[in-house]
């Protein structure tokens, strides 16, 4: 329908489309998925670091406030000092170390996504391959991997996939994920680092692992999903506690 704000002019439109294709030709997009994966990883790490820093500042501030309340030391914050004293009629709550750690623990829970995921459609009946459509894991539970290490963990000496070279892209393999803090694993004959290595040693666990068409690696299981980045000698995380 003709519109006076944008009257039809097919000839000019066609010439403009064609000319703009010449001015701004397509760019190749192959091989960008690993870059996107790295960006996402860096971004998540920045968010986690800023959350950690905020928690430290918050805890420090509250600890100072708690100390001031206990000792009656005046607090000064860009203004006249105000003596803070506990009132016998108003009980002071939320300033003990125990309650501080609880508060911080709750904020960490939210930050790491422990809230229940949004409602997802039910899994199709009799699904024989694993998938993660709509925020829900569907398909059979993973079994142990075929690595020669304990529990089926890859030892690095295997010659067949998934530990050894020859993994077929886009295919899920049963795999045993080691619970070590460095997050270092062997898959497809190469070494990879987990984006979320455990902060403390934990038992090995079974997952489905897949090499994406773009070269990214990711494991899924009924308890979650985590990406892996190629290990190129970057510093590895250690146990935090």
């Amino acid at each position: 329908m003709p519109d006076e704000r944008f009257p039809t002019d097919d000839a000019t439109d066609a010439r403009l489309r064609s000319a703009l294709l010449d001015v701004a030709p397509d760019v190749p997009g192959s091989g960008i998925l690993p870059d996107v994966e790295r960006r996402a990883h860096r971004r998540r790490r920045r968010v986690r670091e800023s959350i950690g820093a905020s928690a430290v500042v918050l805890l420090g501030g509250l600890a100072v406030a708690g100390y001031a309340l206990e000792t009656g030391t005046p607090l000064r914050a860009n203004g006249p000092s105000v003596p803070v004293r506990p009132s016998p009629t108003t009980p002071i709550t939320g300033s003990t170390p125990q309650s501080l750690s609880t508060a911080s623990g709750q904020s960490f829970s939210r930050a790491y996504g422990s809230q229940p995921p949004p409602d997802a459609p039910p899994c199709p009946a009799h699904q024989t391959t694993p998938s993660t459509v709509g925020g829900r894991f569907c398909g059979p539970s993973p079994g142990p991997g075929n690595g020669s290490g304990p529990d089926g963990v890859c030892s690095g000496t295997e010659t067949v996939p998934p530990c050894g070279h020859g993994v077929i892209p886009d295919r899920y393999y049963a795999y045993t994920m080691p619970g070590t803090c460095d997050g270092l694993v062997t898959f497809d004959g190469r070494r990879w680092v987990s984006e979320l290595p455990p902060p403390s040693p934990s038992p090995d666990f079974d997952v489905w692992i897949r090499l994406g068409v773009g070269g990214s690696v990711r494991w899924i299981s009924p308890s979650g999903a985590v990406g892996l980045a190629p290990y190129v000698g970057q510093p590895l995380s250690g146990c935090r506690r």
Binding site: D3, F6, T12, L20, P25, V36, A40, S109, G113, S202
Partner: protein, 177 residues
């Protein structure tokens, strides 16, 4: 629940095929179109990849993205706008400090003969509309959604931009002043 359990229980929500499909079918055109908007293909590529990374994080958190191409378009466009604003501030500050000589508009007349230069001379919103509608092939409605404006605004922007660019495309006419 321990921290270890919390970290392991990242909600499952990634359909990585969505991303692979996007890269196969939509990535190239979107980068080219946004390159037209900002005049810097590298910046356009950076914005689209950053938008994809954010989409990946959102998907892994369990967020449902109904249309990944539309989502990435909006986020990448916003990233470019933010970048453009900060660059504009820097340029203004630099100009104040180092270039007190007034700009002579007649210097730009030659550039207008070239379509790329003519696009660059459009207002930013006209460039966005032109890039999304003509280069990316979106409808007026989709263009309006990506730009977060009304359909009527897009039509007005396109009409004015087309009138300007048509002068450059006119065959056999000399538009030099």
């Amino acid at each position: 629940m321990t921290i270890a359990m919390i970290e392991r229980t990242v909600p499952v929500g990634v359909d990585e095929d969505q991303l692979a499909r996007f890269v196969r079918t939509d990535y190239s055109g979107l980068v080219a179109a946004l390159g037209l908007v900002c005049g810097d293909r590298g910046a356009a590529e950076d914005a689209v990849q950053e938008a994809l990374a954010r989409a990946l994080i959102a998907l892994r958190k369990g967020t449902v993205i109904e249309s990944l191409p539309a989502w990435v378009r909006v986020v990448a466009l916003n990233l470019l706008r933010n970048r453009w604003r900060s660059l504009s501030r820097e340029r203004r500050a630099t100009r104040r400090a180092t270039d007190p000589v007034p700009h002579d508009p007649s210097d730009d007349v030659e550039e207008l003969m070239d379509l790329r230069a003519a696009v660059a001379r459009l207002s930013r919103r006209q460039r966005e509309a032109v890039a999304l509608y003509y280069r990316l092939g979106l409808s007026v409605r989709e263009t309006a959604q990506a730009m977060r404006v009304s359909d009527g605004t897009v039509k007005t922007l396109l009409s004015r931009a087309r009138a300007t660019l048509a002068q450059v495309l006119e065959p056999g006419e000399d538009h030099r002043a």
